[in-house]
């Protein structure tokens, strides 16, 4: 099997006719940097292995000469057997679309030092910090290399394969203690509170907050203003973590001059549970319900992203009806999510509760449909590898399903969008608060790896559904919504546009659902213990309501668990833009700017 895969990859450049942008760029890169760049020849792997010290140079060539100007994902992988840590970069071509150029830089496990990509791609900022936090990479030239998801007194780097959590039982699930001689215990009984924490050497947990927080404040500018006759200080204020405007437990450290923002730094990780570490203990199947908990407002989309990735890895195909059901679910999720996002954005702008609750009336119906089809309103756990869990239900709230969907798609959802327009779009207060505030230029948006509505509201019509179509999106007729001003108001409008496009898609999906009634929704009977048919990696991405959601999964041959399970979380990376967008605006605007990014802390903190 390995031979055939190798042959295929070798053949494509020779024919030279249907080269994708990524293949072109890869070939050129090998020409330009022959000594630095080499093919990743491991079985099942793709992309280029780059000499670690030259990674920034190669990235610059890709950005400036080859058009790969969008750094989507940066993540580490621990290959403990080879004694290596690897950083994997996925870069995309914004203008031409298509697949990624994958770069990999390998460093020694004991001295993981490599140059930072932040000077080339500012969007690498948080992801590199995350990689540092999880693996201990030292990115030289990174402006602010601190832990981001765990706290400063955290011991070790949790995603390294030799790190063990406090409640460690075994490397992989299922645990042997559960069956056949399972006697129940609580993990915290074995390892009681107070004894389950280890501190790094030299760390004194004094409880003196200042020590911990110095680093956070250091980067902010604190200068005394020397205006003659007027004594003003710049003040640093913490917005959050417990603050109604932050949509969860999220903290913004803000330096203000009067009411104007001088500098802003987000602090996150309060909801961190190391989703990826849990994911690497889990079997492939077990991760599906965990993905629900990432962006808990759009669990269906998260499911889809993960299902697509594992299907790539396992070479599974999906029956037609299942694909249509998937699109139905995902687009309903998009509407659901945007209704929520708009409700909260308007909430943040001062239209307290009213528009939000009007939007929720319809959202409730979508959730009812999810509950009837998946069994749960929000934690759907609906997609499976090679299909979906169930066919559509017979009826939803006493109405036949198709009738329910038709009423929803042709009648109620268009009506609520219409009503929302009348209620809020023309509202002078909303306009005054939103127009011209929090502007993100298209160049910045691309450089900072912004994704989803945030990117498209800045005039970059990039949508994964069009750029690298998955499922049946290439057969569907819809426009990529785009707005050009990049302010809060455009980010408000683009979500309405996107919902209208989603409705267009849904209208096209309904006849297909009727046509395929009774067809199977699953290729084979689901297996409870799936094993990877081959060693290798897969990167799958979907256009989540909040932006590009990517999963990077690697597996060993016949392995039942992913060796590496990484989530490229759009909310998390979109936050890179928060600081630059807020500078020069008032405190009240920051709240609205954050609302317009639309984050969910379940996904930011993972």
């Amino acid at each position: 099997m390995s031979d055939t895969t190798l042959d295929q990859t070798a053949e494509i450049p020779e024919t030279g006719v249907v080269q994708t942008p990524a293949q072109e760029a890869t070939a050129k890169l090998k020409e330009l940097h022959p000594n630095i760049v080499s093919d990743d020849t491991r079985e099942g792997y793709e992309g280029l292995i780059v000499y670690a010290d030259s990674i920034a140079e190669v990235a610059r060539t890709l950005r400036d000469d080859l058009g790969f100007n969008y750094l989507s994902s940066v993540t580490g992988v621990d290959y403990i057997e080879e004694g290596k840590l690897e950083v994997v970069y996925h870069l995309y071509n914004i203008s031409r679309g298509g697949g990624p150029v994958v770069l990999k830089a390998q460093v020694d496990r004991d001295a993981p030092v490599l140059p930072s990509l932040v000077p080339v791609f500012p969007g690498a900022d948080y992801q590199e910090r995350e990689a540092y936090d999880m693996y201990g990479f030292h990115f030289q030239g990174h402006p602010d290399l601190r832990r981001i998801l765990t706290w400063d007194g955290f011991n070790g780097h949790p995603l390294r394969k030799d790190w063990k959590e406090a409640f460690y039982e075994e490397d992989y699930k299922p645990f042997g203690s559960r069956w056949p001689d399972g006697s129940v215990f609580r993990a915290e009984e074995r390892n009681p509170y107070g004894k389950n924490v280890k501190y790094p050497p030299g760390w004194v947990p004094t409880g003196d907050e200042y020590d911990v927080e110095t680093d956070v404040y250091l980067g902010l500018s604190y200068s005394r203003d020397a205006t003659p006759g007027l004594k003003t200080d710049k003040v640093t204020v913490n917005l959050g973590p417990q603050h109604p405007s932050t949509h969860g437990v999220f903290r913004m450290v803000v330096t203000i001059d009067g009411e104007t923002i001088v500098d802003l730094k987000p602090v996150m990780g309060y909801l961190h549970r190391n989703h990826e570490q849990i994911g690497e203990r889990n079997t492939f199947n077990m991760n599906m319900p965990y993905t629900d908990r990432l962006d808990y407002l759009s669990s269906m989309s998260n499911n889809l992203g993960y299902a697509i990735t594992v299907e790539k890895l396992f070479d599974l195909s999906v029956p037609e009806r299942a694909e249509w059901i998937r699109i139905l679910m995902v687009e309903l999720t998009r509407i659901c999510n945007h209704l929520w996002a708009l409700g909260f954005l308007l909430n943040d702008l001062g239209a307290l509760q009213t528009p939000m609750l009007y939007y929720y009336l319809e959202r409730e119906l979508i959730l009812d449909f999810f509950e009837a089809s998946a069994g749960s309103r929000m934690m759907c756990n609906f997609m499976r590898f090679g299909g979906v869990a169930y066919d559509l239900p017979d009826e939803v709230r006493g109405t036949p399903t198709m009738k329910f969907l038709e009423e929803l798609i042709y009648n109620r959802l268009p009506r609520v969008l219409e009503q929302g327009d009348v209620l809020m779009t023309g509202n002078e207060i909303v306009k005054a608060r939103a127009i011209g505030v929090g502007i993100l230029s298209p160049e910045d948006a691309i450089a900072m790896s912004a994704a989803g509505p945030l990117l498209r509201a800045s005039g970059v019509p990039y949508d994964v559904r069009r750029a690298e179509p998955y499922s049946y999106y290439e057969y569907l007729d819809f426009d990529v919504a785009v707005r050009y001003n990049g302010d809060i108001y455009d980010r408000y409008l683009i979500r309405i546009d996107e919902m209208r496009q989603s409705l267009r898609i849904l209208e096209q999906v309904l006849p297909h659902l009727k046509r395929t009634t009774g067809a199977p929704v699953f290729g084979e009977k689901p297996q409870y213990a799936l094993r990877a048919p081959r060693a290798g990696e897969a990167y799958g991405r979907v256009e989540n309501p909040k932006g590009e959601l990517g999963y990077y999964v690697t597996a060993k041959r016949r392995g039942g668990n992913p060796e590496r399970y990484h989530v490229r979380a759009p909310s998390f990376i979109n936050l890179t833009t928060l600081g630059p967008m807020s500078r020069g605006h008032k405190i009240a605007d920051v709240v609205a700017i954050l609302g317009s990014i639309d984050i969910v802390l379940g996904e930011v903190d993972r």
Binding site: R178, W179, K525
Partner: protein, 228 residues
């Protein structure tokens, strides 16, 4: 005109305000809009208008058949005078193996000679850990574990009440038929057909063949069952 947007918006609010009373009037002669099952159905359905509030706990939303909450174990309908019938669980351990948060503990029964018996001796689910994903019910080959619809599990003390043992988990088949009639019926049919296929083939072929066939039939029925 400046301010027109706000006025128009207020119009929408006014419409909603009036609408809530219009719907009240509609149901005035028919037993009222609240605490009335029929009105409640319409109110929560796709054609409902006006205020959607559910007056919990007097009013409760019906749970669809696929609704999933903390699992329970299916037993035969109990003979008169007893609380439980025979366990369906064979303690094969698949549920414990698929469980994502690993919240299921099973102690397999033992025969006097020490060999395993296809019955659980003990069965625990830590409902604090359970994430209601439904995998155990989905992958159980014996229809012996099902997701419950009873979501009112709040209690004052988590240390004593949140680990469910076999007694607490076991519920008779009639309960499952009650909460998910269509699904239960489809499963019944699937079991019957699998049995019939098994009996038919018993004379001719070896055991492996039987199992394969029963598997094929149950797979076919599995798809039919997916509709419910």
């Amino acid at each position: 005109m400046y301010g027109l947007g706000i006025v128009k918006g207020m119009g929408v609010v006014l419409r909603h305000f009036i609408q809530s009373y219009v719907d009240d009037l509609k149901w005035a002669g028919k037993g009222g809009r609240y605490y009335n099952d029929e009105a409640f159905q319409v109110r929560q359905g796709p054609y409902g208008e006006g205020v959607k509030t559910v007056f919990y706990p007097e009013e409760k939303l019906s749970t669809p058949e696929r609704f999933r909450f903390v699992p329970f174990l299916v037993t035969d309908d109990p003979p008169p005078g007893q609380r439980w019938g025979h366990d369906w669980c064979t303690s094969c351990g698949i549920c414990a193996k698929v469980c994502p948060p690993q919240c299921i503990w099973i102690e397999r029964g033992k025969q006097p000679n020490g060999r395993p018996k296809p019955e659980p001796e003990k069965f625990f689910i830590d409902i604090d850990l359970c994430m209601n994903c439904g995998y155990c019910a989905e992958f159980c080959p014996f229809d012996a574990i099902k997701m419950d619809h009873d979501y009112e599990l709040a209690s004052y003390d988590r240390s004593s009440a949140h680990i469910h043992d076999k007694e607490r988990l076991s519920k008779p088949l009639s309960y499952w038929r009650e909460i998910a009639p269509k699904k239960a019926e489809a499963e019944d049919l699937a079991r019957q057909m699998a049995e019939a296929a098994k009996a038919k083939k018993k004379d001719k072929d070896g055991e492996a063949r039987e199992e394969r066939l029963a598997e094929a039939v149950s797979r076919q029925l599995y798809y039919q069952g997916l509709q419910y």
